[in-house]
Amino acid sequence: MKFEGTERYIATEDLQVAVNAAITLEKPLLIKGEPGTGKTMLAHEVAAALNLPLITWYVKSTTTAQQGLYEYDAVSRLRDSQLGDPKVKEVKNYIRPGILWKAFTAPSPTVLLIDEIDKADIEFPNDLLLELDRMEFYVYETEETIKAENRPIVVVTSNNEKELPDAFLRRCFFHYISFPDKDTMKQIINVHYPNLHETLLKEAMEVFFQFREIQGLKKRPSTSELLDWIKLLMTENIPAEYLANVDLSKELPPLYGAMLKNEQDIHAFERLRFMQRRV
């Protein structure tokens, strides 16, 4: 099993090394990087490339580690006991397997994506240490141990909202997806829009990289914003010559809404333009 990117996903060499090391050594791979550089996509593409099913655990601020293992539905059991349902004798009937349970007991190896782990409580990663390390956990209600028959390939993404505990970090391989350079960016666009006209590509990238240079943006546009924007440019049939004449110090580029996501950034841009005009 070796990951080399897919036809829709360009993986740089350092990313390939990180993924393959994590697969071979059966350790979780922690992925960080600017928003929109393809962290979540990576797990999807690893699964596609290796032809394995993908199981995703979207972490929210209220997610607890226990939910990933299993939940005991005491309320239904109570209700069933009122109704005299025979199911009530077996506690097993009220244990709801969580995502980790499903990944551990899947008939084939899977890719397990734990998405945005930093959204959860600060102790959340610590509560999963043993489970991810040994790939097993204990169910108290039924007194059984759930053990992974096929160790899943674990991909964890983080947006750096919270710092992760050292003990957790030590058990992972780590990769930081840096913002792609111009050549990589070209390859990325090519796999997404193979029929894009060369000059439009050149002009769009020109405008985009200038755009990223603007100081003081809250959210700098990233790969996914560029892809959206190019798609819009294509559907709206904006000619390359028009883009070539866009002067960022005077105006916003056409369809800028795909790249600027909040009104503060639009204000920041306008302010900058205003200042430049005065000079």
């Binding site: 060499e13 350092d14 090394v17 990180a18 393959n20 090391a21 994590a22 071979t24 050594l25 350790k27 922690l30 960080k32 005491a74 309320v75 109570l78 209700r79 009122q82 600060i122 909202e161 919270k162 710092e163 992760l164 505990p165 050292d166 970090l169 030590r170 058990r171 992972c172 391989f173 780590f174 990769h175 930081y176």
Partner: protein
């Protein structure tokens, strides 16, 4: 195999542990990578470094350690000559040299010392024994006589072998000096102590114990009990001294600010300069709207926790005198306002970023500390823990003396 590399990583401040090192060796053993220098570098980085902030330090240590080793990759990892694996450091430096470097506290100490010098030094030096220059006996610079030195700037590779720790060329070494003892994560853990969980509001959570109790009472007929969710409802007012003497502490204050913002839902932040007077600011530039301190005293009730962050280092007049403030004419001495705050908010602490052992030498710190009954703590992890523990305690109720 790469024990020396492992240790040099630790020396430059990359927090790598044995566990990660073993993982790295495991990956090499399983031949995860082809025998190429680039892949080797990527593997080492993914296995040993867990935070992009340390990439720069890692790159430096890597370049430093594996300089000239690229050619061995042609041979493949198995055929690497043993003397190279035994540590290029030893090939480059004599035992004696290594000992001297360690004697100075290692690479990191050398870097820190050098950075300090760079800040002091203005212009070029030659033949000196202190500053960064050429041909002298200072440990920093090029072509000098000091043996345990750091070299600055590029030179012929052969020349490098003779003296000095390998050079870096215009590296951003400021990251190395980063203070890892206090970061947003451990600040948050400290702030966690201040959580006050209460159940208020809409009952939207099933109360299992209550349901069972009520059901049993009801003769086993199902009776669902609901209750409000448990939430952290601690209320915090944060007041920052800003500008002037606080500049060196900006980073720690920012970390505290960001950590508190995510930790406390009910958080209000205000800014002041040196001492608190009749007005406070909402905006950290102290330009925008002023808010009357009286309004704050009246608006927020006494169960708010107040955290004041400031170095409390000023002229005593700023605390004691009418008109003593540095940027306006104050009708009342700052002391009055501090006492009013103390009276309105029984849960109040002052966090001081100045090192605690300096406090006794600054008159205004002693004064303010006295005003607040010693409720001043250093802005360190330990200080934060103490301060939060104090704030957590239920109201500082004055003992009632019977008449």
């Amino acid at each position: 195999m790469f024990v020396d590399f492992f240790e040099s990583l630790r020396d430059v401040g990359v927090p790598v542990t044995l566990r990660e090192y073993l993982g790295f060796l495991g990956a090499l053993e399983k031949r995860v990578i082809p025998p190429e220098a680039d892949a080797f570098y990527y593997l080492a980085r993914t296995a040993l470094v867990k935070d992009e902030r340390f990439f720069d330090a890692f790159d430096k240590a890597f370049a430093h350690f594996f300089k000239g080793a690229e050619k061995f990759f042609v041979l493949g990892i198995d055929e690497i000559p043993p003397e190279w694996l035994n540590g290029p450091l030893k090939r480059i430096f004599s035992e004696e040299e290594l000992e001297r470097i360690m004697g100075k506290g290692g690479w990191q100490a050398l870097l820190a010392a050098m950075q300090k010098l760079r800040e002091e030094q203005q212009g070029r030096h030659e033949g000196g024994n202190r500053y960064i220059g050429t041909g002298g006996t200072s440990p920093y610079g090029q072509g000098g006589q000091a043996r345990d030195g750091a070299k600055v700037g590029d030179e012929e590779a052969e020349e490098r072998k003779k003296r000095g720790i390998r050079a870096w060329e215009k590296r951003e070494y400021k990251q190395l000096a980063k203070d890892v003892t206090i970061n947003t994560r451990n600040i948050k853990l400290a702030l966690k102590r201040l959580r006050r969980f209460t159940r208020e509001g809409v009952p939207d959570e099933l109360d299992i114990d209550g349901t069972i109790r009520e059901t049993a009472r009801n003769g086993a007929m199902f009776d669902v009990e609901m209750r409000p969710q448990r939430k952290n409802r601690v209320k915090v007012l944060l007041m920052f001294d800003i500008g002037g003497s606080m500049t060196p502490h900006v980073k720690r204050c920012e970390q505290l600010f960001y950590s508190s913002r995510t930790e406390f839902k009910n958080l209000e932040t205000f800014y002041f300069h040196n001492c608190i007077y009749e007005n406070l600011w909402r905006d950290d530039s102290r330009w925008g709207d002023k808010i009357k301190t009286y309004d704050i005293l009246h608006k927020y009730n006494s169960d708010y926790r107040v955290i004041i962050v400031g170095d409390a280092s000023m002229s005593p007049y700023e605390v004691l005198q009418v008109g003593g403030s540095v940027d306006h004419f104050n009708d009342e001495p700052g002391m009055n306002w501090l006492l009013r705050l103390k009276e309105s908010f029984p849960h109040l602490v002052w966090l001081n970023p100045e090192p605690q052992d300096q406090w006794e030498y600054v008159e205004s710190i002693n004064m303010i500390r006295g005003l607040f009954d010693n409720r001043m703590y250093p802005l360190t992890l330990d200080g934060l823990h103490q301060a939060m523990t104090l704030l957590r305690r239920s109201a500082h109720t004055p003992t009632l003396v019977p008449h």
